[in-house]
Symmetry: C2
Subunit: 337 residues, 2 copies
Amino acid sequence: MPADPSPLPPPGSTPGQTAWDRTLRSPWRGLLEGQPVGIVGLGLIGGSLGLDLQAAGLEVRALVHREATAERARQRGLASRVATDPAVLAGCGLVVLALPLDRLLDPDPALLQALPPAAVLTDVGSVKQPVLSRWQALLERNGRAGQAGLFVAGHPMAGTALAGVEAGVAGLFRGRPWVATPDARTEPGALALVRALAGAVEARWLTCDAADHDRTVAWISHLPVLVGAALLQAADRGSGAAGLGDLARALASSGFADTTRVGGGNPELGLLMARCNREALLACLDGYQEAIGSLQELVRNERWQELAGALLEAQRLRPGFLSPPPLPPGDPPPPQG
Amino acid sequence: MPADPSPLPPPGSTPGQTAWDRTLRSPWRGLLEGQPVGIVGLGLIGGSLGLDLQAAGLEVRALVHREATAERARQRGLASRVATDPAVLAGCGLVVLALPLDRLLDPDPALLQALPPAAVLTDVGSVKQPVLSRWQALLERNGRAGQAGLFVAGHPMAGTALAGVEAGVAGLFRGRPWVATPDARTEPGALALVRALAGAVEARWLTCDAADHDRTVAWISHLPVLVGAALLQAADRGSGAAGLGDLARALASSGFADTTRVGGGNPELGLLMARCNREALLACLDGYQEAIGSLQELVRNERWQELAGALLEAQRLRPGFLSPPPLPPGDPPPPQG
């Protein structure tokens, strides 16, 4: 690692504060070069990361669970080396744990043993507080207390409807947020390295408190899954009970498709989000039911002016949630591999 | 109108039955040619229709409310003739009432007077029972009892986020359902002409009972508006109350954007849907709240296996609502204008 990884990333964030990195595409190359990047798991996130990092000229070594996956990953060129033996991670200066939340929270002991003791570790899970606590504890309990500060909890917010070794695509992270949730133990150099990783794939770097992250994604990412799933169930049952199931399917158009996209997505992912962020999600469900109940009361009581006001409020709110602010104009172009 | 508009369209549908037209692109030209098509209103639907009908070689005459709109519509070439004087509709064999629901249900008396007495009339409103009853009564009360059977309630199910004279685009209806809700009074020749209209813009023709239509679109079109609007309101209030409003906006990604697209759409449209389809929508809201409440109970009680089952059910249900069946292979190519 070079001696001067400037400009330095922001220190661990204060709860409630959002810090967009305004020098996103800062010199990541100096931090990442010279040592291979390890990726554990080559699903949508891991595979996409492998493609982009290699395109940026970095060496990528990947660990997967099954030999068939390894074979397919090699065919797809998702990493320079792919193996089912954790020893493949030897020599990596940074290891990205791109595992599903359940396997991330309960990792294979052989994986833990094989992690290079000086490597910076990061994950890509959609819930951060449980991951951060769990991994700091795991590392301490396994005689790696010194590595606990090298664990950077992270969450690249990018996705498609696909999963598995076929899902990885180039450019998945470009312009998307990559959130890290450092705490007081996180070493600045480790955070800088993960920030360099995000920069290499042209993601938008952002840091915040882990608990803030989890409460926030409950609203904008986990709640929409249940909102959409309930719509699919209710529309199926309601139209079916009236003998209108076929007509409902014939008439459903892009509005229904969009509203239910994440609700009809990967059930394992939705389940893990709910399990790992249960308390925050329950609070969101309370707030949501209050909101939909209020709208129903307006319809029931024919309070049309108030309903118009509520729909206008919704229309005005949405653009704020749509896209992150544009990158600052002075940003240098991304480095080419 | 030619003597033999074969193959004849299906007769008025039986409630609960869905009849996809399997000869969609049947010879529409013979029915539509020789007389101009009138369009009242050149918003998204009217303007798009004007573009497509002219592209198919038909003459289109349009009536709009304001001179500024007429001027812009002429610049955009939305119709062959555009005027604010209802007399522009003279000579039209088919008039499409492409008005917002409120103006459709309470039309300008001057419009009513100017409609050619022998013209087939159709509308494009998203609720059908009130429109059908209202127009049959209006025509009767205005000494046009004979024309009541020429009124065909219709609903082309296509849309974008845009509205107004700038919104119309070519190809909006291609492959999308165009539903008609004939009843016992609807004359088969009138229905055939509207079916020809749908065929000319390459829509997918479908007939069903008006009440069935309204109950069905409440599930797949009107409920999603309130579901998405409530999500926007709840996410804004909930994250704001926790001081996480900025972070929520920074982290919201395509999943949130999609789930809220129709909920954050045109508020006037949402309000009119709710007003004109209130009873059906209230029933849907009951069913929906039951569904989301059940999911919340599963999360609250950590009944993870049942939650997994519910999310899997949602995933399995969604494809059925996504796209209409492909056109039959024997279909002739659409006529070129």
